[in-house]
């Protein structure tokens, strides 16, 4: 109650926060049309069957949308519409990283208007938090390699299973986070930005959408960072070069294992 009274001191600020108009209406129709299009083409449903809750879901949608619409155009005796041409032409490159395809576009997919109504069934995608690397390996049914070195101070926090085919290993240091997502099975991401490639620790490493991706032992590894300082190539080389199945090599990094 005391806290409520304290907040009352700032009722004008509160009123400003509540009443500020962020022009939501200006974007409403575009967002709604995009969602409606994805539902009607089954993009969201198909995406989740394949991705099972992995990050970058939305980007994967685009790949499927392109495939669906390309198929429609070909079946129709190349009677490709201007819209279809626009979508096809927007793909400027594909990069294969293990089981993952990075699709590079030169622009966002155009908006499509449709009056058709379809079923909007959802598909299940589960996440489950687990504690140790050992459990994660058991769930994935693979003795996958993990970093045995990270910059000083980082500690393994937890793992999150994304369906049966992906696991996210989370490391933290104060407010800094490093996430390593391992996945098997086909999936993909897309970007309108530059896709960079480097050879690091003998592996082809890709940089797209601020994510570092590489393949190892048939799995795709995606490194996400939320920290004050990005890892440089030397640091990445050390992380990737010291990947091992022996997580207990470093007790400081894996205190829970």
């Amino acid at each position: 109650m005391a806290e409520e009274q304290n907040i009352d001191e700032f009722k004008e600020v509160c009123a400003l926060l509540v009443n500020t108009d962020v022009n939501a209406e200006m974007h409403r129709e575009r967002i709604y049309n995009r969602l409606e299009f994805q539902i009607e083409t089954g993009v969201i449903q198909q995406n989740n069957e394949k991705m099972e809750g992995i990050y970058m879901k939305r980007s994967f949608n685009k790949s499927i949308a392109v495939a669906v619409l390309t198929g429609v155009c070909l079946v129709g005796g190349f009677s490709t519409t201007a819209l279809g041409q626009g979508i096809i032409q927007s793909v400027v490159g594909y990069f294969q990283v293990g089981n993952m395809t990075i699709t590079q576009y030169d622009k966002e997919l155009p908006k499509i208007e449709s009056s058709a109504k379809g079923d909007k069934n959802a598909v299940r995608g589960n996440t489950e938090q687990i504690t140790t690397i050992k459990e994660a390996r058991t769930n994935m049914k693979i003795d996958f390699v993990v970093p045995t070195w990270l910059p000083e101070g980082y500690k393994y926090m937890k793992s999150v299973m994304h369906g049966d085919n992906a696991v996210e290993l989370v490391y933290s240091k104060d407010e800094n986070l490093v996430s390593l997502l391992l996945s098997k099975g086909e999936n993909g991401i897309s970007t309108t930005g530059v896709v960079k490639t480097e050879t690091i620790a003998g592996k082809s490493v890709y940089f797209a959408n601020g994510i570092v991706l590489w393949e190892q032992d048939g799995l795709t590894y995606e490194l996400y960072q939320m920290s004050e300082k990005n890892s440089d190539l030397e640091t990445l080389g050390k992380i990737i070069g010291t990947m091992s199945t022996e997580a207990d090599l470093n007790n400081e990094l894996y205190p829970k294992n």
Binding site: V13, L16, T20, H27, I31
Partner: protein
């Protein structure tokens, strides 16, 4: 805190929206109508980039549609579940940017673009500039809690559940954040009332 409570009570009328496991087109429309503004505003308060906010908002509803079958009313209210998704999408966005949120915002603050985008101009014209400049000075946690409270219209207890902290802690952070906003707004020349 009358204003926020009133706001939340208006929002909290839509539990009946979630009455089945299959998301029909009608249900999707209802959910979108009921939550769109709150989700969009929540994201805007966190990232202050309307083009990106549109993209992230779309991602939130995509995930809501895709995960709808997994929603369990026994575990949480629908809006808490939905805003957990929104929070995760915003967190992923920051992760993919590989930058600490408040640092990048501070950097932007230092070099306010002489040629703001059309979207930013809209914000400025609407008189919201001071508020967004003040929001940029908050830490990610403070900004998230402010957004959950005043844009998403969640109760302190719901915010606490989402963030895994105590309700008292939420209250403390809210108070501290409002104090900072008040100070920033005054320094920025904002005239109350």
């Amino acid at each position: 805190m009358e204003i926020a409570q009133m706001n939340a009570s208006v929002y909290r009328k839509d539990n009946e929206v979630v009455s089945g496991k299959e998301m029909s087109s009608v249900k999707f429309d209802q959910i979108f109508d009921n939550y769109y503004k709150r989700v969009y505003k929540y994201i805007c308060y966190q990232i202050n980039n309307q083009n990106m906010a549109e993209d992230l908002c779309s991602q939130v509803f995509e995930k809501v549609i895709a995960k709808y079958k997994t929603y369990s009313p026994e575990k949480s209210s629908f809006e808490v579940w939905l805003f957990a998704i929104a929070r995760n999408i915003v967190t992923d966005y920051h992760r993919s940017n590989k930058k600490k949120f408040h640092l990048s915002l501070d950097a932007i603050l230092e070099i306010i673009s002489p040629n703001p985008s059309l979207e930013e101009e809209v914000i400025t014209e609407e008189g919201n500039k001071e508020l967004f400049l003040a929001l940029r000075k908050l830490s990610p946690k403070e900004r998230n809690i402010i957004s959950m409270k005043f844009a998403a219209g969640l109760k302190n207890s719901e915010i606490a559940g989402l963030l895994g902290i105590s309700g008292a802690n939420v209250g403390v952070v809210l108070h501290r954040s409002l104090k900072k906003l008040h100070k920033s707004l005054e320094m920025g020349g904002y005239e109350h009332g």
